[in-house]
């Protein structure tokens, strides 16, 4: 035992150092390992959660982007359709207005023509009337006798009628 003693091994100091190691182990377990491991685990959990959340948000963003592009596409399509429809309606309205204007114009022209025709006929009638009177008078002067005005007129009217019918026809 002399050899060991010369190295410095002695039981009381060995026991004291064993107690020191045990105390250090216990204290470090309480104030260092336990809280630090808890914190490291907590941090790992948070990081994992954050990464999962990021992935989730990324997927959501991708879905939202897809949805938005789909909506934009649909809206563009709808807009194109609306424009085409509006153009078509405009064209229809324009054509309708044109048609209406045309038919109104035609009706106006027709009315004007019939009016003109009527006035012409009236003028012709008046002229014929005047012409018959002048003719009778002229004929009376030529033959120097008064024709039976009534008979004469009938003859002239008949002739004129025939000629008018011919002209009108």
């Amino acid at each position: 035992m002399g050899g060991l003693a010369s190295l410095g091994i002695n039981l009381p100091t060995l026991i004291a150092q064993l107690i020191n190691v045990a105390v250090l182990f216990g204290l470090l377990y309480l104030v260092a390992y336990k809280p630090i491991m808890r914190m490291l685990d907590e941090r790992s959990r948070k990081i994992k959660e954050s990464m999962d959340n990021t992935e989730h948000i990324k997927q959501q963003a991708e879905r939202a982007e897809d949805e938005a592009s789909k909506r934009i596409e649909a809206a563009a399509k709808e807009g194109q359709e609306a424009i085409a429809r509006a153009v078509r309606t405009g064209e229809e309205v324009r054509q309708g207005a044109q048609q209406q204007a045309k038919s109104e114009a035609e009706a106006l022209i027709t009315r004007a023509r019939s009016e003109i025709q009527r006035e012409r006929d009236e003028a012709i009638d008046q002229l014929r009337q005047g012409f018959a009177d002048i003719t009778i008078e002229a004929a009376g002067k030529v033959i120097d006798r008064t024709l039976d005005k009534k008979t004469h007129r009938d003859i002239i009217d008949k002739v004129l009628k025939e000629s008018t019918t011919l002209k009108k026809g």
Binding site: A16, N20, L24, L28, A32, I36
Partner: protein
């Protein structure tokens, strides 16, 4: 921006001034030391330096000196050194972990890095589950051995002397340089290795050391009259018993090897520093302090790492053998 001229971030005059001061101190310390004194005496020069300029001849004692008694229990200077290490480690741990934050500050990050590094070492050797179980033991050994070695390099250790009942004694001494502390650590390591071995494998763990199965089988064959087979069985059984006993012996030899490796390295380091400081006082010891910092770290890693390997082998190797 004009480039600043200088060396190591200092202006040239400052660097030159520092080098001159360094050289003067070095020459002075060399001349004041016994090495320089011997060299000068060859030329017949003898200088008388004041006592504060010289370092006393080192007188290392392997046994630790008793500083005082507590309830009749002798408290040695190495026990005081161990207490200082314990107070330092527990104090720093308490300060760091008192208000832990998820986003750590500098001190917390540094401490977490150290602890996390030891934890990663444990899990990389013993696996996730066992590494976590072994981590407190391995980390305690690593932190104690490392910080005890480093704290012992501070002024005060080995330099403050007090008068005791047994005479003059150093107040503080690195616990690792007193064989009782390496032995206590080795015994702790041994106890945990056997505890985890028994806990993991139950009584099968002891089968590694006391393997009589083959031998008994050989004896049975002898009684059955199968002489040839029984001789072979008894022979292999005897070898198995012998290797088992060797295995058991190696468990105890580990205690001795762990103890003397740490004790030898730390004591040699301390003596080296004392001798260097004696031969050439002052500045010459600085590189050796750096060396001791490295050795303290290496010894901490070796002690903790070997304990980790013994723990891993205790719960795995025997399990593989029984398959």
């Amino acid at each position: 921006m004009p480039e600043k001229k200088g060396c190591l971030g200092c202006s040239f005059p400052l660097v030159i001034g520092l080098v001159v001061v360094f050289l003067v101190l070095f020459i002075l310390s060399f001349v004041a030391g016994p090495l320089g004194e011997g060299l000068l005496s060859v030329f017949g020069i003898s200088l008388d330096f004041p006592s504060w300029l010289t370092v006393d001849r080192p007188d290392p004692h392997l046994p630790a000196e008793t500083v005082f008694h507590l309830f009749g229990f002798p408290i040695t200077n190495s026990v005081l050194g161990a207490w200082i290490t314990i107070i330092f480690l527990v104090g720093v741990s308490y300060i760091v972990t008192r208000r832990m934050k998820l986003v750590p500050g500098r001190l917390q990050a540094a401490f977490e890095f150290l602890i996390g590094w030891v934890y990663d070492l444990c899990t990389s050797v013993a696996g996730e589950k066992n590494g976590r179980r072994f981590f407190p033991v391995v980390a305690t050994i690593f932190l104690f051995v490392g910080f005890n070695a480093w704290l012992a390099l501070l002024p005060g250790f080995g330099s403050i002397t007090i008068h005791t009942a047994e005479g003059e004694a150093h107040l503080l001494r690195a616990a690792n340089t007193d064989i009782n502390m390496p032995l206590a650590l080795a015994l702790t390591s041994f106890v945990f290795v056997e505890f985890y071995g028994l806990r993991s494998l139950g009584f099968r763990y002891l089968g590694k050391f006391f393997n009589f199965g083959e031998f008994i089988k050989g004896v049975k064959l002898l009684f059955q009259g199968k002489v040839k087979d029984s001789i072979f069985g008894i022979f292999t059984g005897a070898i198995t018993i012998f290797t088992g006993l060797l295995e058991g012996l190696s468990e105890f030899i580990r205690i001795i090897s762990l103890t003397f490796r740490l004790f030898g390295n730390m004591t040699a380091g301390e003596i080296l520093l004392l001798v260097v400081a004696f031969l050439i006082p002052w500045l010459f010891a600085i590189p050796f302090y750096g060396l001791e910092l490295l050795i303290g770290f290496i010894q901490a890693i070796i002690f903790a790492g070997l304990t980790l390997i013994f723990l891993t082998v205790a719960i795995e190797a025997h399990g593989e053998e029984t398959h």
